[in-house]
């Protein structure tokens, strides 16, 4: 069943606020729908906030069925192609006042991105995720927050995580060790990390 963009956005926005609370304790976050100017120079204009979508759905009654809903909001302004609609991220870590995304630190940007990805996951889970070194910029405390979240979601989807960090290895149910010999050939050895499961199979060169 194909859900509409609006419903998915609303669910994602709801989850974003909760996930941000867990990754940025004391901080706040929000998603907004915005209309981008053609030149990009004027900056995006806000057309809908996350709460507004839900409110509007109740008002117009049929918003969830109408993919052009956000354009009706613009009636009377320039006709705007639907593809100018964008999702703006706003995040305020604890104690800070400014929200310019670009000024965030490397770790804060990674955490914000992970919060967004987890929010989309909570709204519409994919069957599996492959995350390659996504925690590279995180300090130990933030890696732990990320890993706690990951473990709590792992009953709902399969997560395959590539890392060179020991902390991340500790949350594995299944572990795959890759090595390369002096011949430029990769080899993989695997083992399970829970006694009550079959070890994952890795077949090397036949």
């Amino acid at each position: 069943i194909r859900e509409t963009f609006e419903a998915t956005f609303a669910a994602t926005a709801r989850h974003f606020e909760e996930v941000v609370n867990r990754l940025f304790p004391g901080g706040r976050g929000q998603l907004r729908l915005v209309q981008e100017d053609g030149q990009g120079s004027g900056g995006p204009r806000r057309i809908l906030g996350a709460e507004a979508i839900d409110g509007q759905a109740r008002e117009s009654g049929g918003l969830a069925d109408d993919e052009d809903g956000e354009d009706r909001e613009q009636a009377g302004e320039d006709a705007t192609p639907e593809d100018r609609v964008g999702v703006e991220l706003e995040i305020t870590p604890a104690g800070k006042s400014m929200k310019r995304l670009s000024l965030l630190s490397g770790g804060e940007k990674s955490l914000t991105a992970l919060a967004f990805l987890f929010s989309v996951f909570l709204a519409r889970p994919c069957p599996f995720y492959i995350l390659d070194e996504v925690e590279a910029a995180l300090d130990d405390i933030n890696i732990d927050r990320f890993l706690d979240l990951l473990r709590s979601y792992s009953s709902r989807a399969q997560f395959i995580v590539v890392t060179h960090q020991r902390r991340t290895m500790e949350v594995a149910d299944w572990l795959y060790g890759v090595s390369m010999g002096g011949d430029g050939v990769s080899r993989v050895v695997s083992r399970r990390l829970e006694a009550d499961r079959e070890p994952p199979a890795v077949a090397g060169a036949a």
Binding site: V120, P127, M169, D173, Y176, D183, G184, A201, A203
Partner: protein
């Protein structure tokens, strides 16, 4: 629905057939720099129909074919097969298991196969659509790309949500 296995042969640093089987929950792939971990990530993207060599760090798509090493001759083709468990029917096809295979040789001849039957790229994309898998979605985050969500334009994030919708 989950990823059951991936099998690489002639793909990047995997000249001979290597198969990894995955279970539910959290699987962690570890190893030293340059050992081949991200090559596995690339293989999944590639099998799901990635069209840009840049997305798998190549400049031409043939770059993914094993180029040889010390005492190892190069291979003439690359093949990756991913098997997705479809017991819950989420893939919109009738099979309980869906295998997607992609092959490419040095003459740029290649093919896709769904459960062993030759098909076109659009057929693979069709099967993956509505799951969020595949390149427009957000299910694969390549190395160094996680911050892209924050640095990208608002309309790109919208595409991400639309793909999941």
């Amino acid at each position: 629905m989950h990823l059951r296995s991936i099998s690489l042969k002639g793909f990047k640093s995997f000249p001979d057939r290597t198969t990894l089987e995955f279970g539910p929950g959290v699987s962690v792939i570890v190893g030293p720099n340059g050992s081949g971990k991200s090559n596995i990530t690339d293989a999944v993207l590639w099998a799901m129909g990635e069209q840009s060599p840049l997305a798998v760090r190549g400049q031409a798509m043939q770059d993914v074919i094993f180029a040889g090493g010390h005492g190892q001759h190069e291979r003439s083709e690359a093949e990756v097969e991913i098997v997705i468990d479809n017991a819950d029917g989420g893939l919109g096809v009738e099979f309980t298991e869906v295998s997607i295979l992609r092959r490419l040789d040095r003459a740029s001849d290649g093919e896709y196969r769904l459960n062993g039957a030759r098909c076109r790229l659009v057929d693979v994309l069709e099967v993956l659509s509505d799951t969020g898998l595949g390149r427009e979605g957000h299910s694969v985050v390549s190395q160094g790309r996680v911050e892209a969500v924050v640095t990208s334009k608002p309309r790109d994030r919208r595409l991400l949500i639309e793909e999941a919708a």
